[in-house]
Symmetry: C2
Subunit: 430 residues, 2 copies
């Protein structure tokens, strides 16, 4: 005789088990499109691997009873039509970086497919429509442009006026888009996507791409917001000199100056406290030979925080500090930001609901910020948006080494199912 | 009526004036062989420009009454035969770096030519022979090999067994040597050079390639010794991580670690005191992109000091310190020396004589170490060797911007004349 709690636990275990298997299978299936050496996946925008993946996904959506359609940019939707107005959308991007993994982006699509299949099978048509979306592009790996997929949906980009950008082989974005059959100025069939401003919600599932969940042994990260990013390139100028004939006291060593700055940047971020992160990832000393004191050094700076005010405060104090460091060593520094991405806050209502679901499902969760950019940040200003993370083994992403355990994938999908059920099957209708 | 001092001063002024003009003219003349844009000179070993320069120099030596001859490596000598045994040699290298200046190397040859011409004209044949040498190669700019010229003279290298090295176009050292008419296993004519172990002295004049003389307003640098050099390449290993999703406290940032090490290296050299110099001239962070925490960083280290014991002590203490820095940040460091050049001490007798000459000529001088390598360091273990520096404007060398004022060039030549007179025209003979 099992009591009610045991039955509930047992039914949840079964669901996790089923979804774990299905998610692992579906991710493996999707990874065949663009499969490379060592388990790597390369699915760049509008390439043949990309076209095969989107076409196969459209077939898959059809096979589980959804209505698939593409928009003019090549974003693929699969609709589970509701009985009343309104649409809830979930998904992520189908493109990968070069030699990437099988989870980044793909997980959000697979989660949506499995959640919709489950809901349809178990509860039939919803009150409000649910759609899964496979965004055409997010990574910026073929053309120097990110968010081409979701950017077209929110109107940041237009297929009629693609930016003039070339890939490594000199093919323009417009040429690639037309060759893949998109950019015709109309949807491929008569079904037009809903305008995102009319979306009741957008929910994106994604691997964390960090190691916080894994280190803390938690199942679900409930994203409060996606950080704003500022990127800079600085040039420190000193004097190139002979490494043998220039006494230490005569030197204006740009690399020593840059080293002091790198440590000052690290220390400032540590002192500011989480979630502030500041990174110098690239540094070049010139002339860059072993027997010449560096005359100049160029380095990048990447600063991220979810609050604009914090970014302003941190960056302006840092600029002053870098100038001081340069000044005291007889060096000069110049540089300016070349990227300034605004933070995006997730819907408090949706994150509260997600937290509540984790609690009642018994999933360990934590609120967190996303330090990486995601399609969700483009939708957040337009419609209520939520984002859920599952653990990334070793925090690794953009690599064939990406891995999340099937039961961890499944826990995320259970939360998605519950959220979609809450939004699409329950409550009042307009 | 001029008194004796005035006459002496006036005669010295005239000599300086004459030599300044002759030196500037002769350097300009030599710079036509391999002349490039912006006053640059490129005269790489055995190239057509090099062959033209050596052939023209041989003509020049002949025209001033010296006996020119080549050895099998292409080193050019010009002999002013003495009446008794013994030979004093002076000179430097004829090759340049790519797009170098007209002073480095060339000054030492021109000084020798003018000194011998003056001595011959004024005093006739010396007691002991004097030779000027135009070494074939010192810079290592065509083949990855330095001191091919003086190295052949002291037996470090042999033209019969040239190292198998290729230039940027795939031509081997042997092919280049043979094409230029050298490496035949014999001298081009019957005159064989003296063995360097029988040289009574070798004296090299050179531009300082540093800014100590210029900053201190001195005319002559009397080189006590040429520093020993050790060069290392280190690799610092940490963990590559996402710049957005990795909190500061989770990072093992190899570039931050390398920055700490670079500052520790600088501080250790400053604390050790002159003439210790330590330089990190090249640094590379990997993967080296703005949004990834560096997983590894590679940097070079160049350490120079005239005493082997000081190099040993400094380098071994530094290695310990770098390991400590790596350890406290969860990083590892590996690396080892790939160059270990011994210091070379100049002859105390010759440097004393040079100091005495400067004093009686009224030239301001200082003792100093050479932080750069020179042909003199190969001769120093074999025969009594001296080296004299003249100022380099801005400390610049290996550049078309190299410059030394004609009167500064002349002061060096006057000291050389006096030294050669002392060694070749005076004293007892065997």
């Amino acid at each position: 005789m099992t009591n009610r709690i045991d039955r509930k636990a047992s039914s949840q275990d079964e669901l996790i088990c089923r979804l774990a298997e299905e998610a692992a299978d579906l991710l493996q299936w999707l990874a065949q499109f663009g499969a490379g050496q060592g388990g790597g996946v390369t699915r760049l925008l509008y390439t043949s691997a990309w076209q095969q993946a989107q076409a196969a996904l459209a077939e898959k959506l059809l096979s589980i009873g959804l209505t698939p359609y593409f928009d003019d940019a090549g974003n693929l939707f699969g609709r589970l039509a509701g009985m009343y107005e309104g649409v809830i959308v979930t998904g992520s991007h189908v493109d990968t970086v070069t030699h990437g993994g099988r989870y980044d982006g793909a997980y959000g699509i697979v989660a949506g497919v499995l959640a919709l299949a489950y809901l349809k099978e178990k509860f039939g048509p919803p009150l409000r429509s649910i759609e899964v979306v496979s965004f055409a592009e997010e990574e910026g790996s073929r053309f120097p442009l990110t968010f081409w997929g979701s950017g077209n949906i929110i109107g940041r980009y237009k297929t009629q006026e693609p930016p003039h950008l070339q890939d490594a082989e000199g093919i323009t974005l417009a040429e690639a888009m037309h060759a893949a059959g998109f950019g015709q100025g109309k949807a491929l069939d008569d079904r037009q996507p809903y305008s995102p401003s009319s979306w009741s919600a957008f929910i994106e599932l994604h691997i964390e791409q960090g190691s916080v969940l894994e280190r803390e042994g938690r199942q679900i990260g409930i994203v409060q917001g996606i950080v704003g990013q500022r990127r800079f390139t600085f040039e420190v100028k000193g004097e190139a000199n002979h490494a043998g004939t220039t006494p230490m006291s005569y030197r204006k060593d740009a690399l020593c100056g840059a080293s002091e700055m790198i440590l000052a940047i690290r220390d400032a971020a540590v002192a500011y406290g989480d979630p502030m992160v500041a990174t110098v990832g690239r540094l070049e000393a010139n002339p860059g030979v072993s027997n010449v004191v560096a005359g100049s050094a160029t380095f990048t700076l990447d600063v991220r925080h979810p609050q604009v005010e914090a970014l302003d405060e941190f960056c302006s104090a840092l600029m002053e500090q870098l100038k001081l460091i340069a000044g005291k060593s007889g060096l000069s520094i110049s540089g300016s930001p070349w990227m300034d991405g605004a933070p995006a806050m997730m819907s408090a209502e949706l994150t509260d609901a997600a937290r509540q679901i984790c609690c009642s499902r018994g999933f360990s969760s934590r609120d967190m910020y996303s330090g990486a950019g995601h399609d969700a940040q483009l939708l957040a200003p337009v419609c209520p948006t939520a984002m859920l993370f599952v653990p990334s083994r070793g925090g690794i992403s953009h690599s064939p080494e990406e891995y999340t355990k099937p039961e961890e994938l499944a826990a995320g999908i259970v939360v998605l199912i519950d959220l979609l059920y809450l939004l699409a099957y329950k409550g009042e209708t307009k």
